[in-house]
């Protein structure tokens, strides 16, 4: 053990004796390690953000929505491209919309898989006005399932009662942000108050029964101040149907029961709706799970990380060869020292260890510098992207052990060469 610390001390001595050379030697290692760490840090922050947004949106959710059918194009002999009939800007007719019946049948077909149906109907975006005070809201009618799908957390008051839902009463839930704007944060004053909601040239009177906690959607970057922020105002679904005089939905969300593979279920839902829309010329129904989106993103992140890892691996390989080269030079320069040490009774193993430790120290110092640069660059990059920087502890430990391994691997050959030197030759070396 004494020998080991002595070797480490020696390694630092020779490192400091040739600072410039040591730095140049480390450069490959520094570049390799810092790029790995920087990418891992940014990747980590992005992944965490995606996971966050997944939890706000709900990973078990399947979005079902109307989609215009792919336009079929026809090509004439002259090469002109015509869009086939029935395409172009097609307005959604009431008959195209997904009806309550379809949803009901869907629920009856897959009672095991569906936990809740979140259907919503947007009335429009507008303002709650109260004298000079205002709050931007988008008014939408929702089924109870929507609260589950949106992961809405009640701060004060209550959700709607079943009977209120059935009757379609003009009751509403507003966000805490809206309460801040209208009642200066006094939720008690908000509850039970009836407000005027202006949308376009109409206004609706809604009685507030609950306040929910607004959560910033992590996927959206908004520069709007809290004052102008537009938040959802929820009213019973039935009420919104009456306001808009329409019955169907352009989209809805299925909250799947736990343990259901939402990806597979999304396909089942699609084929379920295919039977209804086979005859529809313009529209079809698509269903996709958020989990699959997240999965796609992480797969993408994964391949980017792999590509960077390969580049960094090459940099580290080159760096390692640089270390080996310098170690060979250093050993030639110190031939007499090696001879002297052998004459003084150093066994071959001790000489070998001395130079391996030296190579490892070079690599670890390079690795540490690389980690510092990498973390700094990662934090700067993450800040530029507007995501919280999360340095990956795993990658730091990995790079440290990796640079140590490089030191051992590329230091072994020169060290062994030193160990095998003939002491007589080495002592005579000029």
């Amino acid at each position: 053990m004494t020998m080991f610390f002595e070797n480490v001390r020696l390694a630092f001595t020779s490192l400091l004796a040739n600072k410039m050379r040591a730095l140049l030697t480390m450069l490959g290692i520094i570049i390799g390690i810092s790029s790995v760490i920087a990418i891992m840090t940014v990747g980590n922050s992005l992944t965490i953000q995606v996971t966050d947004s997944m939890s706000t949106m709900g990973a078990n959710n399947i979005n079902v929505f109307l989609q215009a059918k792919e336009t079929e194009t026809e090509k004439t002999e002259e090469g002109y491209v015509f869009e086939s009939a029935g395409s172009g800007q097609v307005m959604v007719q009431d008959s195209d919309l997904i009806s309550d019946e379809m949803i009901k049948t869907l629920c009856e077909t897959y009672p095991e898989d569906i936990y809740a149906i979140a259907a919503s109907k947007s009335v429009g975006s507008g303002q709650i006005l109260d004298g000079k005070k205002y709050a931007n809201v988008s008014l939408s009618g929702v089924s109870m399932g929507q609260f589950v799908a949106d992961n809405v957390k009640l701060e004060a008051g209550r959700f709607f009662y079943e009977s209120e839902m059935d009757k379609g009463l003009m009751l509403g839930l507003i966000s805490d942000k809206a309460v801040n704007n209208l009642y200066a944060g006094d939720t008690e004053a908000a509850l039970g108050d009836t407000v005027n909601v202006y949308i376009g040239d109409k206004f609706y009177q809604v009685t507030i029964v609950g306040v929910y906690k607004y959560e910033r959607n992590a996927m959206m970057f908004s520069l709007t101040s809290d004052k102008d922020l537009s938040t959802n105002m929820y009213i019973p679904l039935r009420a919104s149907k009456e306001l808009t005089h329409s019955d169907g939905y352009a989209s809805f969300t299925i909250v799947t029961a736990s343990g259901v593979d939402s990806d597979k279920f999304a396909q089942k839902v699609e084929s379920f709706f295919a039977s209804y829309y086979r005859t529809n010329r313009n529209f079809e129904v698509s269903a996709f799970s958020l989990a699959s989106v997240v999965e796609t993103m992480s797969t993408m992140m994964g391949s980017i990380t792999k590509a960077i890892a390969i580049v960094a691996g090459i940099a580290l390989l080159v760096g390692g060869i640089g270390v080996m080269n310098i170690m060979l030079v250093s050993i030639t320069e110190r031939t007499r020292e090696i001879g002297t040490r052998k004459a003084l009774g150093a066994p071959n193993s001790s000489i070998r260890m001395q130079f391996i430790v030296e190579a490892v120290v070079i690599c670890i110092v390079g690795g540490i510098i690389g980690i510092i640069i990498g973390v700094t660059a990662g934090i700067l990059l993450a800040n530029a992207l507007g995501t919280p920087a999360v340095p990956s502890v795993f990658s730091i430990i990995l790079s440290l052990s990796f640079s140590m391994a490089i030191g051992v691997f590329f230091g072994y050959y020169p060290a062994n060469k030193a160990a095998k030197m003939d002491p007589i030759e080495a002592l005579r070396y000029e």
């Binding site: 020779s14 020292e337 001879g339 004459a343 003084l344 009774g345 001790s350």
Partner: protein, 248 residues
């Protein structure tokens, strides 16, 4: 004459290079040398006489092609590489013409080095190294780097290092060769002091007849053979030399 312990016991030592090739070369052609404990022996000879080869074998840096060699009772002829390192470490103290101190390592650490390889603990090492540096009159400059020392000072550190593991023999190869006569004198006086006061066995390899004359016994080598062995005049009066050492 009473029976004294043999430190070096060489019989029929032959060293050949390029064995089996047409230009096979015998550097040593059958050498018998015996050095007893506490002796101060000089080995002299012109260059090409086989001095260096003999020194390498005495110092167990090399093995003879033929013959037997016992160093302090250990059969060097049959030892493996790592055993030879151990023998060098415990039994031999080298003093080189070019000092061969480890660069960028202070005097104290240089003297500690053989003890480090012997596995001695840190504090013991430092204490012994300091003590040895005191003996050679370098106690004041323990923390100096070799670059900061003069030739004579470097050689004194090297002598302290040679004594580190209290070896059976101190093997000095032209120790004054790179020094001016005054500092050379100083270094020789240290050897005499170690011999007289501590009873060290010293083998001095030199081409200088004057230096050899100071020793107790002179072995002359020529063309790989011992051609003469006679008594030297012994050490000069120690009283003056002691003054010189402590004054420096």
């Amino acid at each position: 004459m009473e029976e004294r312990k043999k430190i070096i016991d060489m019989k029929g030592i032959v060293k050949k290079f390029f064995i089996g090739t047409p230009n096979e070369l015998a550097a040593l052609g059958g050498v018998d040398i015996t050095v007893y404990e506490g002796e101060f022996v000089a080995i002299v000879g012109a260059s090409g006489s086989g001095k260096s080869t003999l020194m390498n074998i005495i110092g167990s840096l090399d093995r003879p092609t033929e013959g037997t060699y016992f160093l302090d009772g250990i059969n060097v002829t049959e030892s493996k590489d790592d055993e030879l390192s151990k023998i060098r470490n415990r039994k031999v103290g080298f003093v080189f013409q070019t000092y061969n101190l480890i660069a960028k390592t202070n005097a104290l650490k240089n003297v500690e080095m053989p003890m480090l390889y012997a596995g001695m603990g840190r504090s013991n090492r430092a204490a012994r190294a300091a003590e040895l540096l005191d003996i050679v009159g370098m106690g004041e400059r323990m923390k100096h780097l070799p670059e900061e020392l003069s030739g004579g000072q470097k050689q004194r550190v090297a002598i302290a290092r040679a004594m580190a593991n209290d070896p059976a023999i101190i093997l000095a190869d032209e120790p004054t060769g790179a020094l001016d006569s005054q500092t050379g004198r100083l270094v020789m006086d240290i050897f005499h002091k170690l011999h007289k006061e501590q009873g060290k066995t010293i083998v001095l390899i030199t081409h200088s007849p004057e230096l050899a004359e100071e020793c107790e016994r002179i072995i002359t080598l020529k063309d790989g053979l011992v051609v003469g062995e006679r008594q030297g005049s012994g050490a000069p009066s120690l009283a003056d030399s002691k003054e010189e050492v402590s004054a420096s």
